[in-house]
Symmetry: C2
Subunit: 420 residues, 2 copies
């Protein structure tokens, strides 16, 4: 059994949220292991000692983070030494790790940093590939304890070593492979319903659900000793999921939607202009989070006012007055107007009511029209997603990017949207 | 002493990050209390029992979340009953809480929901003002245990009651008042340095630092029994902070920067157009996250290409060719062009290199020019913030909104920016 321990006054005071336990737990789960308990305590030697001596009876491994830095309130190493009756000694391996880091940083090693190399006697240093404070592992009776610094980037870089160590120690010689499918247009419970009884019986393959508004990631993990067989099982499982909900899967490679859309645009040497009303820039913000997006994002128009819609996108005043700014014809004219004005291959538009005010009985908050102007045709889709302003904006940006993706794939049935 | 316990298999598998312990810890700290240990365990009765019976010797209060829902894997109530040797009985108070909630939702109460009203005998129900599952508190020996559902919104709504209960129980009759100052332009360590030895000696006043890129929140908390005196001490403390770093404080009321800027624009009946290049829409996205922003955000131009800068903002081709798109003259012309084209009171512009590519020795990644065109003058500021694409975008949006804020306040010394 494995327990996790996070150490730091900043955790107990609520000043910092602990992300290390969550990260390590997820890595353990994906490696076919699992944690039985997490604990967090402050930076007091007595609190650390108590945590290390009140473990569950069956615990064999303890992974701890925090309190290994150079300052006076980093007390983990000395608390561990006191708990297990060890001397504190200078670890040559830890000194070497620090010297290597400072050389890479191009800075001399300050004397104060050397405190980080003072570790309990008999422990083994764990190399820290990104920071100066190395970790260490120590055996006490039947238990192995691993101590890492608290900096999340360093924990991310060092957890793999610990997991490999535990797996090897326990004789888990299996290979693990995984793949992450990104799903939009179905919530978790609906996916479960659609997949129920439709997946192959493969005991070595596990499926994990990770919902993150407005989408769900499905992680397929296969374990075994034969790499080829694992790959086959992974593909078999993935094919079964594809057969059930394929039209809702926009990436089989864990990419964000804006990256998929960007890849499709770049691959077709196509360019894009967006006309955003209710999303207020969020769609283009997401698109331009992708490095290299200047190759296809030509410009965008954030047309909050009716005047802007008229002047920049040539939406006639009469259409705005007759149908209202949030309407099918306006979304159509906005998409076409953006494409025309910018001279791009595609135009994408959204116009809607993000709330909290501005809703009417006919067009309540969450009513949005999305338009995609392609070279040969324009399609417009109405969506309704009641929620907070923030959620309406996010959902609208996701729907718009997905509609563009489907248009780029030549799929104008918009199947991925029919559930909304 | 207080311990926190979060219950749920989804926490141990790393599927969900625990935010409840962090939230409750912060609330406790602000109420003058503190947690001594957090633990997380899975949804197994035995794991819950062990957690409840292996508390630290001095623990008097335990606040637990999770496992109170209607489904079969919600086992907290029955595990608690078994641990403390109580019968499970239907709680009338819990039934009343549920009926009230379902009435508000306008839906009939399903029979399955009634499981949530089956609680250990002798416990006291804790009203849940936002969900159907009420919480409960139970006394065992010298200890008081509080159990809440795991849904974060419900925890947020119910924690106040528990804190009041603990404070009253311990005879903490003090009043607590707090104020949050938002600081931009100084990192935490610099703020500490500037405040060192400059704050009044008021033992009943505490200062908490909550950094969140690219800004820092300073929370001043004062406790005491005399409301007037607390208010005075709070003001004295705040005034001392203002005297040291006042020019970096953009809100004394915990508002986000986009809300402060929006309030200033609305108060002056001024309108705004933004010309965004490297931020790709993020500035306007932030501005339009504020409800009612359509009153002052007229339109924005996301001008990723040089052609867009020419066509939409009338930046002459010769200036772009002569100085480059990332330059002082182009930022100036973009801000003025946006103001002119949209007919707004203010124009705000950014042009820079967000990276990871596109940097040169003269203009490395992170070089950005920001322009503010006001009715009477235009000011341009150069900034340099090397970092990831995401951080350059975020820092640029923050700098731009802050520069606009200073212009709206008539402060063209740009003092709040001089550190970057």
């Amino acid at each position: 059994m494995i327990e996790l321990l996070t150490i730091g006054d900043e955790l107990l005071s609520g000043r910092t949220a602990d992300t290390n336990a969550h990260f390590i737990a997820r890595e353990l789960t994906e490696a076919g292991l699992s944690a039985t308990r997490f604990s967090s305590v402050g930076d007091q030697p007595e609190a650390i000692r108590r945590a290390l001596t009140t473990l569950l009876p069956d615990t064999r491994f303890v992974i701890a983070t925090g309190g290994l830095g150079p300052t006076d309130d980093d007390l983990t190493a000395s608390a561990v030494a006191a708990t297990f009756g060890r001397e504190l000694v200078v670890s040559e391996a830890a000194i070497a790790n620090m010297e290597r880091r400072y050389r890479e940083f191009g800075r001399p090693m300050p004397d104060a940093a050397k405190k980080q190399a003072v570790l309990p006697q008999g422990c083994e240093a764990i190399d820290n590939p990104v920071g100066t404070a190395c970790g260490f592992m120590i055996q006490d009776g039947q238990r192995q304890f691993f101590f890492l610094p608290g900096v999340p980037e360093e924990v991310h870089a060092m957890t793999g070593f610990i997991i490999e160590h535990i797996r090897a120690y326990c004789g888990m010689r299996q290979i693990i492979k995984s793949r992450t499918l990104k799903v939009f247009g179905l919530w978790e419970s609906k996916i479960q319903e659609l997949l129920k009884g439709r997946l192959p019986e493969l005991p070595a393959v596990a499926l994990g659900y990770y919902p993150s508004f407005p989408e769900v990631s499905l992680k397929i993990t296969a374990t075994g000793s034969d790499e080829e067989q694992i790959e086959q099982e992974l593909q078999l499982f993935q094919a079964a999921i594809q057969a059930c909900i394929g039209e809702y899967i926009y990436s089989e490679n864990n990419e964000p939607l804006e990256e998929v859309v960007g890849r499709l645009l770049a691959g077709r040497k196509a360019t894009l202009a967006v006309a955003e009303s209710c999303t207020g820039g969020l769609i283009t913000h997401r698109l331009t989070n992708v490095a290299g997006s200047s190759a296809y994002v030509e410009r965008s128009f954030i047309v909050y006012s009716n005047m802007a819609k008229q002047e920049l996108l040539a939406v006639p005043e009469a259409v705005l007055a007759g149908h209202g700014a949030v309407s099918e014809p306006v979304a159509r004219l906005m998409a076409e107007g953006a494409r025309q004005a910018a001279g791009t291959t595609y135009g994408l538009s959204v116009t809607g009511i993000a709330g909290p005010d501005g809703g009417t009985p006919e067009k309540p908050v969450g009513t949005v029209f999305i338009g995609v102007a392609a070279p040969d045709e324009t399609m417009v889709k109405k969506m309704f997603y009641p929620g907070t302003r923030e959620k309406v904006k996010m959902m609208t940006s996701q729907m718009a990017l997905n509609l563009l993706r489907l248009a780029l794939l030549g799929n104008t049935r918009e199947s991925g949207l029919k559930k909304f």
